[in-house]
């Protein structure tokens, strides 16, 4: 690697324009019907993840509306217990597995490569496979639901209720295989993100200069990698119990119902942070941009993310405080669950300090960030209460908990995500969202949200348990439930306005500049929407906020081939250029592999032999995926090896 002089001929405007044309040709996605299934561009796949996830969000939201209708008054008979149980299970399962995780990963897929100045995401074919698995999982779940075999054992599927003896029919199997689907997808995405962030950063982006959103996605990807194996084991053993008669959860044969709870919550509590941390990253980006200053306390914010992730793996037992485990042992989890508040507190203090010392601009994205404070802090404080063993014994599995985690998840994740869409919509589509509609939707959502969920705290303390399809009039829970349902209606209106804003602005929104908000990170250094190759020339960075810093003497990267999909690979710690890697072309094989694996998963609900027969198409598809295509490689192996030996000799 050599560093050139300022007037390198490759940096002449005409040369750059030529390179851009050639790159566009190399990196563009195939068109047509087959092309649609072959796409491997992280931006296209990222948008697909986000849009599909919001599709499921709408479905799950409608289910929530149905529940609020049923609970609006006592002794209601609108929805019977069988359907109601399916609805609340579908709502939770969809929101957790088909909305929250895919959408936060989707934002990472789209923006991480842009923010770190890379041409592409690592393992783009694996990413495409992950998307198809995710899409098939959702279609599978909702087809089953409309066939009246939607899961009805709760998103937690406790045994023995979901076991072979009490979970008759195929409903619990549908849930377990849905989990296998989505976890396969999540694990694949996490590999892509981890490797991208470790190895594809622009030169100069050492660990201490990674944008906070990227840090959040990195920490999240690691949490996915460490927690999802647990639910894979759980759902796998549940399927085995149901399908081939193993006894993991059958106490009569030495199994144990609490083993399920341990395995499930070892995944499901970190899952909450998987949903929450990327949203924290979004808040950091928005606050920096709309105060016009670097976020205060970068290191504290990074450490908070990492600390939350680690402590998040040491709190799962707080979901099991009422199972009769000895209090002496469970109290350590109380300590951890209370201490995990500190990193979140540090983040909030740092953001307030940023707002304090910056020049605040009240655009819609910032409003969502402020709404995040108002809502999420309340959820965090009720979380402290739930960490206390005795208090949890009272409010566990009541509407108090429902209120708590909606404050945490909607406040901590949905508000930042909606703000993030307002923030990045111009980058993704080239058009601005309407501020007026955006602000209207925000205020309605904030009011509707609090009207829906605040009364549920009180309901929980008044003794209303979760997951009940009705309640007697004498309990006097009617008024607060009615208020809650009215709030849900308001939220429905708010989200409809939000969606209308997106639909209208997509066609008629003001055209966006490259950096309409004056932000500091690299995704704003390219055009809106970005070209398929992301950057030309590829950038380097000299600090944390590259677009706010003097860039005159910062070099750029030249020498990446434009006629093949070359990507610069850098080193882990300080992102020094290391080697170039040729990235794969678009291909339909990931789609076919997802079809084969999906067929195996679905078939195995009905017969264990599906694993054997289904392995054949899976193998064929994987071979097709891995087999190199002849003729499209410009360099022969001999030339590459000769080149290698030559450079080795030069070094010596």
């Amino acid at each position: 690697m050599t560093e050139g002089i300022a007037d390198d001929p490759r940096l002449e405007p005409s040369a750059l324009a030529r390179e851009a044309r050639e790159l566009a040709n190399t990196w563009s996605e195939p068109r047509g019907f087959v092309g649609w299934f072959s796409c491997v561009d992280h931006k296209t796949v990222g948008v697909r993840f986000i849009v599909t996830a919001f599709g499921f969000f709408i479905l799950a939201g409608l289910l929530a509306a149905a529940m609020r209708l049923q609970l609006a008054r006592p002794d209601n008979t609108l929805i019977g217990p069988d359907l109601y149980n399916q609805i609340f299970t579908m709502h939770g399962t969809t929101m957790m597995f088909l909305f929250a995780v895919p959408v936060v990963l989707g934002f990472g897929i789209y923006f991480v490569p842009l923010m770190i100045g890379s041409r592409a995401i690592a393992f783009p074919r694996l990413l495409a496979f992950a998307y198809w698995m995710f899409l098939f999982s959702g279609i599978f779940l909702y087809v089953m639901f409309f066939l009246n075999i939607g899961p009805d054992r709760g998103w937690f599927s406790y045994v023995p209720l979901a076991g072979p003896e009490y979970g008759i029919g195929k409903r619990a199997d549908v849930w377990a295989q849905l989990v296998s689907f989505t976890e396969t997808s999540g694990l694949a995405v996490s590999v892509c993100l981890i490797v991208t962030i470790f190895k594809l950063r622009a030169p100069g982006m050492s660990l201490n200069r990674i944008p906070l959103f990227v840090w959040a996605e990195l920490v999240t990807a690691f949490m996915v990698a460490c927690s999802m194996p647990s639910i894979m084991v759980a759902s796998g053993t549940l399927i085995l119990d149901r399908l081939v008669g193993t006894h993991f959860y059958n106490h009569a044969e030495g199994g144990d119902a609490l083993l399920w709870q341990h395995l499930f919550w070892f995944f499901a509590h970190p899952e909450v942070y998987i949903i929450f941390l990327p949203a924290q990253g979004i808040v950091s980006m928005i606050i920096a941009t709309f105060t016009g200053r670097p976020v205060f306390g970068y290191i504290a914010l990074v450490l908070s993310l990492v600390a939350t992730a680690f402590i998040g793996f040491g709190v799962w037992v707080h979901h099991m405080f009422t199972t009769g485990l000895p209090q002496f042992g469970t109290s350590f989890f109380t300590a951890a669950s209370i201490m995990i508040v500190v990193p979140s507190g540090v983040q909030i203090f740092c953001w307030i300090a940023t707002l304090w010392s910056g020049r605040v601009r009240f655009a819609t994205p910032l409003l969502y960030a402020l709404g995040f404070f108002v809502v999420f802090i309340m959820g965090g404080l009720t979380g402290v209460m739930l960490a206390a063993v005795p208090l949890d014994a009272q409010v566990h599995d009541t509407f108090f908990v429902v209120a708590h985690f909606h404050y945490v998840l909607i406040g901590g994740s949905l508000f930042p995500l909606l703000g993030g869409i307002h923030y990045w919509f111009p980058k993704m589509t080239g058009r601005m969202l309407s501020e007026r509609m955006g602000k209207t939707a925000f205020w309605l959502l904030l009011i509707g949200f609090n009207a829906t969920f605040f009364p549920q705290h009180i309901l929980g303390l008044m003794g209303m348990p979760r997951r009940v399809y009705t309640y007697p009039v004498e309990m006097q829970w009617g008024a607060l439930n009615l208020l809650s349902s009215a709030g849900a209606l308001t939220m429905f209106v708010a989200l409809s306005i939000y969606l209308a804003n997106v639909a209208i602005s997509l066609r008629r929104g003001a055209v966006a500049a490259d950096n309409p908000w004056g932000a500091s990170t690299l995704e704003w250094a390219t055009s809106s929407p970005p070209p398929p190759y992301n950057f030309v020339p590829a950038p380097t960075v000299g600090g944390r906020d590259p677009l706010w810093e003097t860039r005159a003497d910062l070099p750029v990267v030249v020498g990446l081939a434009a006629d093949t999909r070359e990507v610069l690979v850098t080193r882990l710690m300080d992102a020094e250029p290391d080697h170039r890697k040729e990235f794969p072309e678009p291909t339909v094989w990931p789609f076919l592999t997802a079809v084969a694996v999906g067929g195996l998963y679905i078939g195995s609900i009905f017969t264990p032999w599906a694993v054997v027969w289904g392995a054949v198409p899976c193998t064929i598809a994987l071979i097709g995926w891995a087999w190199p295509r002849k003729g499209n490689r410009p360099r022969s192996l001999e030339r590459q090896i000769a080149h290698r030996h030559r450079t080795a000799a030069e070094h010596a």
Binding site: L207, N208, L303, G329, P555
Partner: protein
């Protein structure tokens, strides 16, 4: 490309190990201690003693403190999160990253010691078999 190996390679390796130890020792020691304490809780009920739980905490704290100290010395006590615009491939980029990681290691060590102290509260307050 400016190169930077004024110090011997082995020293650089030691520095790298020290900063990573500072960052990772806290969380890993704490997670281990959590599991150990959870198991010890059953033992404590059987023998009606808790001293070994305090001992385990003390060992974890000592381990974390040592790693934090290593991270501190790795950058000669110069721990700043000071950001100046540098050339991407310069020594200064690397130095800033190294200082930053030392600071992270020290801060993390202190923080996880606090978490371990929080876990002492139930050991002190609760009776062995509750």
């Amino acid at each position: 490309m400016p190169s930077s190996t004024s110090r011997p390679v082995s020293h650089e390796r030691w520095r790298l190990a020290a900063v990573w130890a500072g960052v990772l020792a806290g969380p890993l020691a704490w997670l281990t201690l959590l599991e150990v304490n959870y198991l010890f809780a059953y033992v404590a009920c059987e023998v009606q003693r808790t001293w070994f739980m305090h001992l385990a905490s003390a060992v974890a704290v000592a381990l974390i403190a040592a790693s934090g100290y290593a991270a501190w010395t790795a950058s000669h006590g110069d721990m700043r999160d000071e950001e100046t615009v540098t050339h991407p491939l310069s020594d200064e980029t690397r130095r800033q990253r190294s200082r930053w990681m030392s600071l992270a290691g020290v801060a993390f060590s202190i923080w996880f010691i606090v978490v371990i102290l929080a876990m002492e509260v139930p050991i002190i307050v609760l009776r062995e078999c509750q």
